[in-house]
């Protein structure tokens, strides 16, 4: 009950942050705008409708990821330090609230806020794709545009479940990132934490490169050890973006549901680990 009370309050507080609202509105706006953007592409390119759909999906997923990363960073960076700055933490921890309940409640609140943000962006994304699919099918059926779009437009399904899995995967990476930033917020200042969080995401996003550097033959053994350690320690954010075919054109996932389940398990374990370490630090932190 205490964790839930803190989580609810955190959501109410977080959703009022102007900067989060701006990121959310801009991301939703760009996803919607991508509809007209891809409309232009459809008729100008020679690639066909299915290729345009791939572009549209990649753009939408990319927008969601970018906005969500910033929201996760800002939320995670300010989640606990702001309680100190505003001195709200004193009256809360003076009540019979265990420290792990406070941290868990705050983190759960952040996850709920990210869930709302991802839900809004995801819904906009999926609706945009469905509208585009309807438009493409109607155009394919029309006698004047049918020959321009070709047979590929007719093959496009109105609703693709893989989009839902892709949105869930995007959310899972926000969860992992915010748990890391929350942990860092107990150690570093807000500015340092923001850049550290961004760096962790960037390195995790390029983990394939880091892994290959760890196995590079020309590098010294110390350097290879360093790259290997980094690749083991940091979460593999690239794996959450597999459905984005623009980023991973070579990778094909046959069963997206199973893949998402596996990544959810990976993300949850990583998040749990970061949360446990954060709780252990906070247990001895003076407020």
């Amino acid at each position: 009950m205490i964790i839930w009370a803190i989580a609810r309050t955190t959501v109410g507080d977080a959703l009022r942050k102007k900067i989060l609202q701006v990121f959310l509105v801009v991301a939703i706006g760009l996803i919607v705008l991508s509809l007209s953007f891809s409309q232009t592409l459809s008729f100008s390119s020679q690639r066909g409708a299915s290729s345009d759909f791939m572009l549209l999906k990649s753009f939408g997923l990319g927008m969601m990821a970018l906005a969500g990363i910033f929201i996760s960073l800002i939320l995670g960076v300010t989640l606990i330090p702001q309680e100190f700055e505003r001195r709200t933490i004193y009256t809360i921890l003076a009540k019979p609230v265990k420290r792990y309940e406070f941290i868990t409640g705050k983190f759960l609140g952040a996850l709920m806020t990210l869930g709302i943000a991802t839900g809004l962006m995801g819904a906009t994304f999926i609706i945009t794709i469905v509208l585009k699919a309807i438009g493409a099918q109607q155009a394919a059926a029309s006698p004047t545009l049918g020959h321009v779009l070709g047979a590929s437009a007719e093959k496009i399904a109105l609703f693709d479940w893989n989009m839902v899995w892709a949105v869930i995967l995007v959310y899972l990476q926000f969860m992992v990132l915010s748990s890391i930033v929350l942990l860092f917020s107990l150690i570093f200042t807000q500015t340092v934490n923001f850049f550290m969080g961004a760096a962790v995401y960037a390195v995790g996003f390029m983990s394939t490169v880091v892994i290959s550097l760890g196995g590079a033959e020309g590098a010294s053994s110390a350097l290879r050890f360093f790259y290997k350690t980094v690749s083991y320690l940091l979460p593999r954010f690239d794996q959450f973006n597999i459905p984005n075919q623009l980023l991973h054109p070579e990778t094909q996932v046959t069963n997206m549901g199973a893949y998402t389940g596996m990544m959810a398990l990976y993300g949850l374990l990583y998040t749990l680990l970061a949360l446990v370490v954060a709780i252990l630090i906070f247990e001895r932190k003076e407020v």
């Binding site: 009950m1 009370a5 003076a94």
Partner: protein
């Protein structure tokens, strides 16, 4: 008599970023009896808030013992029976007064029905019955302090920590808080009151501890701490010769232009000084005076600076 708070040789040391160490609280020992109003006073930076935060388990002692309601400071069971009103309390501004209290009620695991009954009761008690549905960002400082008081009364605590409860309040709000502390005393509650309003402390507290530079300087009841029979004799045109003769009988002498104020404690010395100066100086006034807590406080703090 049972003790609500026991502090023994409490030390709290802070380490600065450059590695320098500051002893915020140094071997402080005191106890607070159940049912008493205990004043804890000292200048800014004396270690008052550090001591309170340590007792609440927000800070950890470097060494020594801090027990609250028979449990180590910070114990969850003890926190069920205590409350804390910080100086200038801050809350989530997007919430209304009622929502904030509902939130704090939830932290005591109160059910929905109990919360629906408790929140309006508390709002009425602190005079915010009509403002409960307004967002806190629209509240004045005094109103926020009232919300702070309301949240400190949620669990009907046995021990209340009040840190500067009247700081920056208008006279009405100030009086309300003073009345609240007195009513808590009547109910047999224990109050640990840290305040710069020394007249409040003098009026409501059973015992007072004075802390300066992290060390407990004095502690006791008002009668034990304050001089009872001090008399101030004010004379005009007192010669230097005569002043030299009077001085050994005085506790303290202050000169202000032509006027000389002679502070003396015993009635016998008052008569001796009056006899010695009769006809040689003009007697302006003889005023029996009780030392105030403020006098004592200023004296102690000034001594500490030398």
């Amino acid at each position: 008599m049972a003790e609500a708070i026991v502090v023994e040789d409490l030390c709290k040391e802070y380490r600065g970023r450059t590695g320098d160490r500051v002893m915020a609280v140094n071997k402080v020992s005191f106890s607070v009896h159940e049912g008493e109003i205990f004043g804890f006073i000292g200048p800014n930076g004396a270690g008052k808030t550090t001591t309170i935060k340590t007792l609440l388990g927000l800070l950890f002692p470097t060494s020594g013992k801090a027990m609250v309601m028979g449990k180590p400071a910070g114990d969850i069971e003890a926190k069920e029976r205590i409350s804390y009103l910080p100086e200038s309390p801050y809350f989530y501004e997007h919430m209304t007064g009622a929502e904030v209290l509902d939130f704090y009620c939830r932290l005591f695991k109160m059910g929905g029905a109990a919360r629906r009954k408790k929140v309006p009761e508390l709002l009425d008690r602190v005079g915010l019955g009509k403002d409960g549905s307004r967002a806190l960002r629209q509240y004045s400082k005094g109103m926020l302090q009232r919300v702070g008081i309301a949240q400190s009364l949620i669990n009907d605590p046995d021990l209340l920590f009040f840190d500067e409860p009247t700081s920056g309040l208008d006279p009405i709000a100030h009086k309300d808080i003073q009345d609240l502390i007195l009513s808590l005393r009547k109910q047999g509650k224990t109050v640990f009151l840290s305040s710069h309003q020394l007249s409040d402390v003098e009026n409501v507290c059973n015992r007072v501890a004075i802390i300066n530079r992290g060390e407990l300087v004095k502690m006791g009841t008002m009668d034990e701490l304050l001089h009872a029979g001090r008399t101030v004799i004010t004379l005009a045109h007192l010669s230097a010769d005569l002043l030299g003769k009077v001085q050994p009988l005085a506790e303290h002498v202050a000169e202000d232009g032509e006027l000389t104020k002679i502070y003396t404690e015993t009635e016998e010395n008052v008569h001796k000084i009056l006899d010695m100066t009769r006809g040689s100086a003009n007697l302006v006034s003889v005023v029996p005076q009780r030392q105030t807590l403020e006098d004592l406080f200023v004296e102690i703090v000034r001594e500490g600076r030398h």
